[in-house]
Amino acid sequence: MKILGTGSALPEKVVTNDDLTAFLDTNDEWISTRTGIRERRVLSHETLQSLAERAGQAALENAGVAPEEIDFVLVSTVQAETLSPALACDVQPALGLKCMGMDLNGGCTGFIAALSVAEGLLASGRAHKLLVISAEALSRFADWTDRSTCVLFGDAAGAVVVGEGEGLEDIRFKSEPRRDVLCASTPPGNSPFAIDPKPAQYLKMQGQEVYKFAVSHSFRDIREMLEAHGLAAEDVDFYVLHQANMRILEAVRTRLKVDETRFPHNIERTGNTSSATVPVLLDELNRSGKLKPGCRVILNAFGAGLCTGTALLTW
């Protein structure tokens, strides 16, 4: 499988750390020293679907692939625009597509999980070119009264067009099922038969436990990927990690003993946008001309489940 093109879209509304002080007892220094985040983008007048469409369109144009060539759409999202139909279907009219679409929820690891599903569809011959979009609106289920979590998140969409060819060398997943440290729930509905329906609960996260999981597992997974392919840490040009927290990125980078240029980041501008962080950052690298043919890239993400995914690519 080969990535043929990339795209991304951020909401227009910029929310700085100072903006948050209007309704939260927090400040720029507290947020930036603990997270590296200076501002994030949040949906206001736009929809998640419009972000997904913009990212998808940009990826199609970047790949030089016509809409009629796409025969499958996968959308990675924790919460789509609607319960049904899937966002992967709803984006199709605007993009000129007409094919099977489905949404997947792999938490923050979702983009890498969707790449793996795409690889399977290509290998089986059931698809030849796919559009994979990660579209996330964490602002809709973050708890805006909880200063320890809502400051971390933003909204975004990232996309890739994938097709047959050489590029993806390996994808691996790990998991450690734990729901307590990172969870959110949907509204209970109004079934007259439901006994003790639980009210909707906004996103809750135990930051310290997630930090420990993320740092230890990212480092271990990347090291295992490197060892499996006989690579040294400096043989990889770019480590595109899930942008959850600058402190996590730095902790993984120093454990791998590689220099800062190999650990690109945009979290200072975007915050944590769940499964969208990896394709958005990949698109920024691609459009800035940093991804040259033959470049070796490791993607790594971790999140709700708890799950982790790691991919090795040659650009």
């Binding site: 020293t33 603990r34 930090y211 927290n245 402190r247």
Partner: protein, 75 residues
């Protein structure tokens, strides 16, 4: 001096460059300028050191609180 306390002091000194003599059991992490993620990072080192899994609890605000938590897990 208690082995767990000493190990915690060592990790704070390593991570934050603070003078070991200034750290007492009563020192609060806040006063030592050790934030929640510094504590998480330190706990990872202590987990490896003692071969245990430490689930951080609310209310661990002083060095002694962390000593107590680790002593309880070590059993």
């Amino acid at each position: 001096m208690n082995n767990v306390f000493q190990k915690i002091v060592d990790t704070i000194v390593d991570a934050k460059g603070i003078d070991a003599a200034s750290i007492t059991p009563e020192s609060s992490f806040k006063d030592l300028n050790v934030d929640s993620l510094d504590i998480a990072e330190m706990v990872m080192t202590l987990e490896d050191e003692f071969g245990i899994t430490i689930e951080l609890e609310e209310g661990v605000t002083t060095v002694q609180d962390l000593v107590n938590l680790i002593e309880r897990i070590k059993g």
